[in-house]
């Protein structure tokens, strides 16, 4: 089954709003926290709604609007989102006040907006979409869960356009909690070549990436998703390799058909071990680029990777910042994304030109 990407919208640490700026003149930011570059939201959300919206809601609603504009659509047949952390800014705001005021004198706004489905609900409200509406939260598989649902939905409903997004926010209390838990990389350990890391921890990122997916190809189509497979708990590099080759066979591809691999190394030496070993074994002849130095590590970073893969295919160009010396490939037809989150959740996504 073929799924077409007919519109994309991405807010990330990079300038991914301006369609022409494809990270030209960019260098990797060696920072443990990669916050998003935000657009002027007034262009996407009515001012009266904007005032009440938290960081993640703004990012999500704007990215959704951009993808709808690109696909030249006002409404869709389904809205499906995935977020690992949910609306943490509103959650911590309510929790902090609750603790400081000893459960008294609380106001409902931040509580109301703390539920994980807030963004999907706000998009529905904004575009008046009464259709199918789902929100997933499964750590590093949150976006993939949304995508699995999207693929089933398009299989069940012919001639449909659906909006699918992955989004997470990296606000300060979350960064502090992760740092305290020992998950954030020390500033002095941050290096540009993420795959060569020998240290612990990752650089936290954030963003919202939305896609208009359809079973119909049209003039706005950028690329197609050929396949998706997710795994929780991988036994080792051999297991990952077997699963990858089985996945490719299942979509009638072999490793030699791949023009590029986007690898989801987090920079944590231990968590990346299996992925690095598998990459070494399988992709010795294929160009591998690492996307997390651009967007940071977060639960739904794979949604950024899908946006990047789609843009690379559309522009037929790999951003210079990613290629680090080796030749810029021509004829970019098929891209494989291999992602891991904390060595627990793994996913494969295959994107190709159409």
């Amino acid at each position: 089954m073929t799924i077409y990407i007919n519109g994309t919208g991405c807010i990330s640490h990079q300038n991914t709003i301006d369609a022409d700026a494809f990270f030209e003149n960019r260098e990797i930011d060696c920072l443990p926290l990669l916050v998003a570059q935000e657009p002027d939201y007034k262009g996407y959300v009515p001012a009266n709604m904007l005032r009440r919206m938290s960081h993640i809601i703004k990012m999500g609603v704007a990215a959704a609007k951009i993808s709808l504009q690109q696909a030249e659509l006002e409404n869709v047949d389904a809205i499906i989102t995935g977020t690992g952390l949910g609306c943490f800014e509103d959650t911590t705001k309510f929790l902090k006040t609750l603790i400081e005021n000893n459960e008294q004198l609380l106001t409902p706004t931040s509580f109301i907006q703390s539920t994980h489905n807030t963004v999907a609900g706000q998009i529905a409200l904004l575009i008046k979409c009464h259709n199918y509406n789902f929100t997933y939260t499964q750590q590093g598989m949150s976006f993939e869960s949304a995508l699995v649902d999207a693929m089933m939905f398009l299989n069940e409903n012919k001639n449909s356009n659906i909006l699918v997004g992955g989004l997470d926010e990296a606000i300060q209390p979350y960064y502090d909690l992760l740092a305290k838990a020992g998950h954030i990389k020390k500033q002095e350990d941050v290096i540009t070549e993420i795959e060569k890391n020998k240290t612990h921890g990752f650089c936290l990122g954030e963003g919202a990436s939305f896609f208009v997916l359809s079973n119909q190809k049209n003039k706005t189509t950028k690329a197609q998703i050929k396949g998706l497979k997710t795994f929780t708990f991988i036994k080792g590099a051999d297991d990952l390799q077997n699963k990858l080759t089985t996945f490719l066979r299942g979509i009638d591809l072999s490793i030699n058909d791949l023009n590029l691999v986007l690898s989801g190394n987090s920079g944590d030496a231990e968590d990346d071990t299996i992925l690095n070993e598998s990459n070494r074994q399988l992709f010795s002849k294929i160009d591998i680029v690492y996307f997390k130095p651009l967007c940071g590590e977060y639960f739904t970073a794979s949604a950024f990777a899908l946006w990047l893969a789609s843009a690379i295919i559309e522009k037929q160009k790999v951003p210079k910042v990613l290629i680090q010396g080796h030749s810029n490939k021509k004829d970019l037809k098929t891209i494989l994304i291999v992602n891991q989150y904390r060595n627990t959740e793994y996913s494969f996504m295959c994107v190709s030109s159409c």
Binding site: L98, I112, F134, T135, Y136, S145, D176, L177
Partner: protein, 395 residues
């Protein structure tokens, strides 16, 4: 076709299916004095708590030093019962998934430690178990389920969506069987949140009563085992019910309030009927969302009236037994609905005396026996406009 082959439940009215059934038959509510939740409001409100401490839940699960929070332990206990009830011995025999639902996941634990974190006193790592999906990973791992694991968080409709997703994963030939449901532990965060919205009744809730004042919060977990027709036939399995229909829609009216005419609810019920290929008059019983808030019950009644017209089937909300267990509510009510079908009993809508002025509908208020239920509808609605309906049918 997707069959229900196992059920498991833990809530304020019992730690398993048989205790739950006894409470329902005897009209025994789980709503009462708050004992476990350490909130300053505990003496002024009632809630529907699972009557075990964290330690006692761990003992019930046969675990030691698991570090699991209340949401995870509730989930694990109900999943254990569902798997046993379905007679599943080998998880790896078929492609098996675990689809859970929760609204706040590990918040019941995080909120106790957040103060020390803010004051730079705490060194305990609670963020890794805070995530709403974390319980699903732990419970799936505990039972060796690896083929597909995810969590849905669509507020109070979450578990209905988990059940629906499970059926679709089977119908799309991605899984052969799947454990579906939800778990939510009561916490100060949620309690205070609903309190600020001023929709908590300080006494027993009165769904569909004209003088209803709000909901009572509850907690618990419930899971169903869904299996494909192929597996059921191959293994000649006993089945409890058929999951024949499911529908999801968005009200797109307000972030928290339901539209007066229940547009989203209407669309969800309509879609469920279409999937089940049933006309409204085939529905024999509705287990309503019926939270006891002024807004929900009016909106839901309007939607039901528009769907069923003059053929309104018998209906009741069982939330006056279990309280509103948020993301777990729909799976708790799915289990109750299946018990209704199995035992031909409609459990009463407690505390409802005065008919609502804005509707002609009135729920079943006393236990009804020997009611042949071929098809039953279960509704669940939530914040964010999320509306879901499920249809369970007799085998």
């Amino acid at each position: 076709m997707v069959f229900v082959t196992g059920i498991g439940i833990i809530s304020a009215i019992g730690k398993n299916v048989s205790e739950t059934l006894s409470s329902l038959l005897e009209g025994r509510t789980g709503i009462g004095k708050i004992n476990h939740l350490q909130t300053i409001h505990k003496d002024n409100y009632v809630a529907s708590e699972v009557n075990y401490s964290l330690q006692e839940l761990e003992n019930l699960a046969g675990l030691k030093n698991s570090n699991y929070n209340r949401t995870t332990l509730l989930s694990l206990l109900a999943t254990q019962e569902a798997l046993t009830s379905a007679g599943i011995k080998s998880i790896s025999a078929h492609r098996t998934g675990f689809i859970s639902a929760s609204s706040v996941g590990g918040m019941c634990h995080s909120e106790l430690l957040y103060k020390d974190f803010l004051e730079h006193k705490s060194h305990e790592n609670f963020i890794d178990t805070h995530y709403t999906g974390a319980h699903a990973t732990d419970v799936a791992k505990h039972f060796g389920i690896t083929d597909y694991i995810t969590t849905i968080s669509t507020a109070c409709s979450s578990a209905a969506n988990a059940i629906m997703l499970g059926a679709r994963l089977i119908n799309n030939n991605i899984l052969d069987r799947v454990v579906v449901g939800g778990s939510d532990a009561l916490c100060k965060f949620t309690f205070n949140g609903f309190n600020t919205l001023m929709i908590l009744d300080k006494e027993w809730c009165k769904p569909f009563d004209d003088n209803r004042k709000g909901l009572n919060l509850g907690e618990g977990a419930a899971y169903l085992v869904l299996e494909s027709e192929r597996v059921v036939k191959a293994e000649n399995k006993k089945t409890l019910a058929i999951l024949s229909g499911y529908g999801n829609a968005n009200d797109a009216y307000h972030q928290t309030a339901s539209s007066p005419d229940g547009q989203g609810a209407y669309a969800a019920i309509q879609k469920a009927l279409e999937i089940a290929n049933l006309s409204p008059n085939k529905i024999d019983y509705v287990n309503a969302h019926g939270t006891g808030t002024a807004n929900n019950d009016s909106s839901e009644a309007a939607a039901m009236q528009n769907i069923f017209k003059e053929n309104m089937p018998l209906f009741s909300s069982t939330k006056a037994f279990t309280g509103h267990a948020l993301a777990a509510a729909a799976s708790i009510e799915a289990v109750i609905t299946i018990l209704s079908i199995q035992h031909k009993i409609i459990f009463p809508n407690l505390n409802c005396v005065s008919p609502m002025q804005d509707t002609i509908l009135f729920p079943v208020t006393s236990l009804q026996k020997n009611v042949e239920i071929n098809h039953a509808l279960s509704n669940s609605f939530g914040f964010g406009g999320n509306c879901s309906s499920l249809i369970f049918s007799k085998n």
